[in-house]
Amino acid sequence: MPSFPEVNILLVEDDEIDVRSVKRAFQTQKIANPIFQASDGVEALEMLRGEAGHAPLPRPYLILLDLKMPRMNGIQFLHEIRADTELHDSIVFVLTTSDDDRDKVAAYEKNVAGYLLKQDVGDDFMNAIRMLDYFTISVQFPLKSVNAATTA
């Protein structure tokens, strides 16, 4: 079922194998949302802000965030994004191998929309991806931040 406008997925993930798993899961479920990839928090912020040669990622978007990445990990990224006046209303789902309650607590303290475990194999992982599909078609996404400059 197409959503209009289509929700962009920003996958913040440094492990190429995991990137492929997520993309394959979306394809299997026939989810056609465009998937953009950043290999860590620094690159993700560049893509969201339109820096370092990137065009800014258009809204609506949803962020799938790994926690363990070089340069800037997931929790650091969350801290940055929640402090950014243009980006702080972003919808973020954590997608990680960490089953550590401290990571879950830290993520929800930054008001992530949800926390998903990558290693839920087979059906559980497919359920998580299906949930994200339902989410993108049923939720009203923020189209601009309250602080965004108004366009003509």
């Binding site: 209303d89 303290e109 008001n111 339902y134």
Partner: protein, 76 residues
Amino acid sequence: MPRMNGIQFLKELRGDPRLSDSVVFVLTTSDHDEDKESAYEHNVAGYLLKSGIGNDFMTAIRMLDSYMDSIQFPAK
């Protein structure tokens, strides 16, 4: 809602250190951009329209069911 509306509630919730990490979905008839923006300013997980007739509403409910099955909640 009377007495305290949803946005006021969100402000209170996010201002309370014991409750500020709560997951909130808005379920409302309001299709106004200002209400959506205000809700996301307070970092709701998602904003759902009640007025979505029939199938749309069922999709939202199905999503919430699927959400509760897939999401890890913190144990604390």
